[in-house]
Structures are given as structure tokens and as C-alpha cells.
Subunit: 484 residues, 2 copies
């Protein structure tokens, strides 16, 4: 290896001729990118804030080629950065600035190997986009429930590496709960075929759990067996004005009690967030005459066969009114109204972008602590920056808030000056209440040190022991998730 540093900032070959030749022999011309224009899309992340350099971008076509690529790089001592759809939010798939790493793109492993609707399983390769996997399940009359804004670009491999969440976690769980089996290339290039398709398997350590959520630091996921579910064509959807956050949580209990697993989504939106949506997202309209401090979007889902989800929803809301938890409610009477209600929730992120710079937090709280957290942290942030706008919303059914901040209307950029102080307040309060500072986005490099500071030494030691055991040379996505 002869790493070089190019003062012009271009990509320079940091790999030996011997390694490059061996990689070309295995992966072919289309599998080894070294030209600046070719590698550029792999060097900057989706948020535009993380940039790196590489010796090459490797694009294997199948598991055997991934195995070859990893083995050759490992033998040469070259660090590898696995990359899926490159839509991560924490820099976990971006190479460092040295130019001595390679990006290992899984984007060409795009085969859907099998869909088995009777067994409710699907075997797909790492580079299959989430939307494509969902469509393949739907074509077989099944539901693959993972869903999120980036689903057209993000890939199954990335979803597994980051244990992705999204809008249906309340009912179906995180990606970890949707994986039955994995195929993984280990840091030395050996392939572990763990593509089991059974739900019950108690034959020793559940090795697949190691690789889910490890952000490519323990090996490279090349394929997975995923769980499928019945489709839920029937929906019942409502927009609520709960009395306050505590009441929103109590209404969630009422809904769970009456609808059980049919409760598919329960999302919170603050008035501040709704104001931005109404101002910036065309076609949105407040369904209530009066303003309220908080709103919740509820959706039940069920199979096509005889059901009356509307009855269950209305009975739940009736109880919530009687118990004085609910101030107002609007139930969607058709698809157009349902989509209009969802737009008020899904438009928040775009609307906030129109209001200037923002600071985003993705936190989980024990659900009973949500009200106190919101009140306490809000007070402290307003003291730090008077006029700060708290664009609070998220998957409240899971205790997950996207606790985002915008600056004062008359000086939106004031926010960024105080970034560290504001985030410190949020993280400190999350930690005090036993929550998580990354509910569904992972750590990458962005949150790595903040997470480490909040974890005890014991847990960090266990994590480092696992990393050392599986990747003793430390060449798999070094510096991501944890410092070793």
C-alpha cells in the first residue's frame, strides 16, 4: 500500500497496483471505480455534511465478489466502508478524509431471490431498494411493513445495518424484528450463510443479532430473509386535538386497549410544527376552528374482510372525550381526507426547511415521561435562546420524538451559534429519563461520542470486546459506532 496525499484534493490511488489488479481481476472494470467523477457520488452523504476520499469504490455484483473484495482488502490492510443507498443521517457510510479507505457499495446486489407468500418470507439482497422490496411483497399479496421517506433510495442492507424504524414501528417493530436470517461477509472475507427462514431457532447464540444495527463495523450484510405480513387495505384515520401531551399518551392507551395490534400509527405534531406546515405546504388546512397546543394523527389498519375499524376508532374517541382527554377530533371519511391528514404530519420536515436552519434530534423517551420532558426541555431551551421555535413531532406511539429546533423568526441563524449548548440540554434530559439519543438513525460518526459519553464504561467495554472479537484488525468501517 502506498498511500499518497494529493494537495489538489483529487482522489489519488492509495491502493497498491497489486491490490488494484487483483480487485479488477475479481470484480471486473465496472466493479472498481477510481476516476474522480465516478467515485464522487459515494464520497458525500445525503445530508451534504459528510465528505470523504477513497482509494477506490468497489461495486461487487454478488456475494462471491463481496467476499473476494473483502478478503483482498483485508489481506492488504485496507479499511472498507460498506455503503447502501447512501441516505444515512449520521455519516455512517462516508469514508474518512485519508483517501486510504475504499467504499464497498452493495448497490449492485439487487436480486430478489425469493418471495414465499405462504411462508410469509422474502429473501432479498442487500442492494435492493426498500421500495422495491415492498413492491415485490405487494405483488405477492403481502406486506413488508418497513416504510420511510427515503424508501425509494435506501436499501435493505442499509436498513439492516442501521436497524431502521419509520412510520409502522408501533405495529410491526424495527428492522431487527423483521429479519429472520442473514448472509454476511465477515471481515476476513468468509461468507456466513445464516439465511434461515424460520421464526423459532434456539440453537445457540443468535449470531444475526450482532450484524443488525452494527452499521457495517462487524461485517457486510449481503442478503436477508425478511418477514412478511397480511396487507391492511382497510384504514380508519383521525386527526385529534388532545388536551395536552399527557392526554395524548392516555388516548394512546385507550386506542391500544380497544384496537390492539390494529393500531398502526400514532403520531404527535405540535402547534408550532403545524403552523409551519400550514404556511408552507400547499393544500393543507387546519380541520379545527380553534388552535390547540398539540395534535395527534391516529390510524388503524386491517384486512379487507368484514371489519368495522371506524366503529372501533369512534368508540375509542368517544371514551377519550368522556374522560376529558380529547378536545376535538376529525375522522377521515375517504382516501382524499386521509391523505390530507397525513400531509399535515409528513409535511413538517419540508415546512421546517423553508423556515431557515434547523437542529434535528431523534430521541426516545419512556412514554410516561414525554409530557415532563417536553415541558422541562422547552423551558430550558427558551431560556438559552428566546424566540426559539420547537418543531416537535414524531412517532409518539413508540416514545420517539423528532425534537427539532428552528431559530427565532427575526433571526433564524442565531440557532446555529448555540448548537452544542442546545443539543447538550436535550441529550442530558433524555439520558436522565432513561431515553435514547438515537431512536432510529444510528450513530455513525455524528452521534458516536455523545452516545459513548452517556453509556457506562461497562457497556462500552462489552461493545469493544465484540468489535475486537469479530474484527480484530479493525478494518471494517473504522471509527463508526464506537472508538476502539
Amino acid at each position: 500500500m502506498t498511500p499518497t496525499d494529493d494537495p489538489r484534493g483529487h482522489v489519488t490511488p492509495a491502493l497498491t497496483d497489486g491490490l488494484l489488479r487483483a480487485l479488477l481481476d475479481s470484480l471486473g472494470r465496472s466493479g472498481v471505480l477510481t476516476e474522480p467523477d465516478d467515485v464522487a457520488p459515494y464520497l458525500t452523504d445525503w445530508t451534504g455534511t459528510h465528505h470523504g476520499r477513497v482509494g477506490a469504490v468497489l461495486r461487487p455484483r454478488d456475494t462471491a465478489q463481496v467476499s473476494d473484495a473483502v478478503r483482498l482488502c483485508a489481506e492488504a490492510g485496507v479499511a472498507m466502508v460498506p455503503q447502501g443507498g447512501n441516505t444515512g443521517l449520521c455519516g455512517g457510510a462516508t469514508p474518512d478524509a485519508s483517501g486510504r479507505q475504499v467504499v464497498l457499495s452493495l448497490g449492485r446486489l439487487r436480486r430478489i431471490r425469493e418471495v414465499d407468500p405462504a411462508a410469509d418470507t422474502m429473501t432479498v439482497e442487500a442492494g435492493v431498494p426498500l421500495a422495491t422490496a415492498r413492491e415485490a411483497a405487494a405483488a405477492a399479496g403481502r406486506l413488508f411493513p418497513l416504510s420511510m421517506g427515503s424508501e425509494g433510495s435506501c436499501t435493505i442492507g442499509g436498513n439492516i445495518a442501521t436497524n431502521a424504524g419509520g412510520t409502522a414501528v408501533l405495529r410491526y417493530g424495527m428492522m431487527r424484528e423483521l429479519v429472520l436470517g442473514l448472509e454476511v461477509v465477515l471481515p476476513d472475507g468468509r461468507v456466513w450463510d445464516g439465511l434461515r427462514a424460520v421464526r423459532k431457532d434456539n440453537t445457540g447464540y443468535d449470531v444475526k443479532q450482532l450484524f443488525i444495527g452494527a452499521e457495517g463495523t462487524l461485517g457486510v450484510v449481503t442478503a436477508a430473509v425478511l418477514r412478511l405480513f397480511p396487507q391492511t387495505p382497510c384504514r380508519a384515520t383521525a386527526w385529534l386535538a388532545p388536551r395536552d401531551v399527557d392526554a395524548a399518551v392516555a388516548i394512546l392507551s385507550v386506542l391500544r386497549e380497544r384496537a390492539a395490534e390494529r393500531l398502526t400509527a400514532y403520531e404527535l405534531v405540535s402547534r408550532q410544527a403545524l403552523d409551519m406546515v400550514l404556511a408552507h405546504v400547499p393544500g393543507t388546512r387546519d380541520p379545527f376552528r380553534e388552535n390547540h397546543p398539540w395534535y395527534a394523527l391516529v390510524e388503524l389498519g386491517g384486512p379487507a374482510a368484514a371489519e368495522d375499524l371506524d366503529t372501533v376508532l369512534e368508540a375509542s374517541l368517544g371514551e377519550a372525550f368522556e374522560r376529558d382527554l380529547l378536545v376535538d377530533a376529525a375522522v377521515a371519511t375517504g382516501t382524499a381526507q386521509r391523505e390530507a391528514l397525513w400531509l399535515m404530519r409528513e409535511g413538517v420536515s419540508e415546512a421546517q426547511r423553508s423556515e431557515g436552519p434547523s437542529i434535528k434530534h431523534d430521541v426516545t423517551l419512556p412514554i410516561g415521561d414525554l409530557a415532563a420532558f417536553v415541558a422541562d426541555v422547552g423551558t430550558r431551551l427558551r431560556a438559552l435562546l428566546p424566540g426559539i421555535r420547537l418543531v416537535t413531532y414524531g412517532h409518539v406511539g413508540d416514545g420517539n420524538l423528532h425534537y427539532n429546533l428552528s431559530g427565532p423568526v427575526d433571526d433564524p441563524s442565531a440557532l446555529l451559534v448555540l448548537r452544542d449548548e442546545l443539543t447538550a440540554v436535550v441529550y442530558e434530559r433524555v439520558a436522565q429519563r432513561g431515553g435514547s439519543i438515537s431512536a432510529e438513525h444510528g450513530l455513525g460518526t455524528t452521534k458516536r461520542d455523545a452516545a459513548a459519553a452517556l453509556k457506562g464504561e461497562v457497556e462500552l467495554d462489552v461493545a469493544r470486546a465484540v468489535k475486537g472479537a469479530l474484527d480484530p484488525t479493525g478494518l471494517m468501517n473504522p471509527g463508526k459506532v464506537l472508538l476502539t
Copy 2:
């Protein structure tokens, strides 16, 4: 340490006086058992087939005492065998014959630390019996869904260590899916406080997954945060005669499509198994006039609020009749009938005991392979031992068969002579079809080597690397799950 060997077979002190004194100082007299009568209940497992000897049985009262005990034993180089309710079926909690190990009983860690019905969580200590945990949840109006025959004796810690299954896995998952957080004493005595109560936490490796299903070989679980669910007081239950096993699987699809998550149980019973139940279990009666080769028990469950589960069940069965999948069906019209149907399923194990010796297998198959597996393996076993009785039943909704064998009526003991050959046929066919030879019982020592023979070297290497990283001295339940 001065291990001695007592030719009379009694327990002899294998621990140094210094270690015993230190343990007594920390745990008190009631926490250190050395008298033969006192230790005897801890030395033989529930099946009566595994026996061991010990230097002492340690009975810590709380997590701090567990930590002390582990640290002292680790420093003295004494191996520890964690034990819960001692109801395991694979010898995972039985000490070896050397007399140099200690049993570390978690039975006195019996506190229910918290039940939070609003958050749907419960924090319990390892020694709490499963039935007690279920009752505490019910007293708060919630459901803890794990349920099995041994629930009065088995403990939450053991359920976690073996990733227990049971009768509600189809709807709620295995124990792994019910655990939100853990408190664990590591092999060096340090305490990891991972008692998180949130569902979404993507801040690095999910360390708790290591200890679930590890049978105490990586550390000692002392407490856990568990998920709770709404209760399901409404039930709809039926006993079915599907045309064959393939039809039983197709009916499962119909039920899942129409009932979605409300499908709580779907159990298969062969005619051979039912014959034994009808012969030996008082109060059982075949609801059908004609005999059928296979039966299925289906149950839907839902909240108390307005529902019509019977309608959903009857519509599902109607579709199954129309598609010629179903030959006959009996729907329970009240609690007594429901219990009578369940007795035909739950009575199989007891009925089989009345028919002489048996060989039990706990296997999972991909659900589409069930029919072919049953036909193929049945043919081969009958060729090996004409007259063999195939007492096949189990949690078919999960692909999990209790594929049990009884000998010929006129010579039941002939079975045991062929034990190894018969089991080899079953395991070989399970492995060929990508199934599991231990669906919910774990490995312990009984299935350790069979499982190793079926796994590839790559997976075993990963497992050994994890064991070596977390328990470098190998003192935590040595010889269980895997040989290092």
C-alpha cells in the same frame, strides 16, 4: 482451591476455605449451601436425566450479592452454573460431575421492581416465576403473553437465558421479542445496567441480544424490562379437520389474512396423538364422527370492546370449506367447550407418557416444508422401526413441531434401542430443509454437539469469538451451548 473426589458420591467441599469464608461474608448463611440435603434439589434437572455435583450452591438475594458471588468465584477460578427454576429440558442449568463447580441460583431475586401499565412495561428480577410475572401484569390490567406448561416454576431469568417460546409465539414472539432491557452481571462480576424501557434505541450494538438465549454462558441476567400488551378477554376457538398438512398450512394463511394479529394460536395434532389423548385424558371426546389424519386448533383473541371475532372465524372457515381445505370444524360456543378443545391439545404430552418411553424432538421447519417433512420422515422412521407411533403435534403457526415418537404397541421399549438412528433421521431432514433442531428448548449439553455438527464452521467461529471475548476465562456455565 482443593478439589477432592468423594468415593461415596457425596458432595464434598471443592472450594477453598478462603473462598467459602468470603462467600459467607457476602451472602450470609442462607446464601451459601454446602450440606448434601440442601444442595440436592439443585443437582438434578427437571427431566431427571441430568445429574451433577457442586462445591456449593450460592443463593444471592439481590444484584449486588450476585456481583459479589461472581467476582469471588472468578477470582478463585471456580466455574459457575446459573440456575433459575431448574425446568430446562436440555441440561443447561445442571452442574457437571466434577464437584468443582458452583450452582448460582437466582431464585431469591424475586422482586417485581415496577409495573407501568401506561408505558406497557414491567421491570422484574430474574428469579420471579413466569406465572407471578403474568399475574402482576394482569393485576395492572395488562398481558404479559409468554405462557407455557412450566410457568408456575420456570423463572423470567431462565426464560431469557433460553429465549423461551410457548403457546403465544405466533402473535407475540419469543422471549427475545418481549425484552426491552436487561441488567446483567458479567463474568468478572461487574454489573451492566441496561434496564432501558424504550422500544427504539439505535445507539450502537444492541448488547442485550448477546445474553438472550445464551443460557448463562456470557453472564448472569439479574433483571429485565419486559413488554406488556392489552389483555384479550374475547376469544373465538375452533377444532378443525384439515384435508391434510398442506391444507392445514393453507388454512393458516386464510386465518392470517382475515384475522391478522388477532390469530393467537394455531396448533396441529395428529390422529396418533389424539388417539392417545382420548385413551388417557379423562373428559376428552372427539367432536367429529369420523376419524381424520390431522387436526388443528385455532384461537383468535381480542379486547373486550365491540368486536365480532366469531364472525371473522366463521368467515375464515367458510372460505376454507369452499376451497376444499377443510373437511370438518367445531366452533366452541362457550368457555367449557373452549377448554375441552384446548385439553385435546394440551393433553398430548401427558397421554404419551402413559404409553411408555418416548423420544422428544422440538424442531422448526419452513412452514411450506411441513407436509413433505412429515411424509418423508414418517416413511423413514417406519422403515427403521415398524409399528413406531408418530406423536406429532405442536405450534404449527410458527412451523414448530413437537415431533415425538413412541414405540410399537406390542413392544414400546424397542424405541430406545434405536434412539440415535431415529433422531439422526429427524435432524438430518430438518437440516436439509433449513429448519432448526431446537425451536424453543435451547441446547444445554443435550443438543450442543448435534447443533454444532449441523452448523457451518463459520458460524461456530463467530460464536466462539463472542464467548472468548465476553468470558475469556471460560468460567461461565462451561460446556453449555458450545464447546470452546
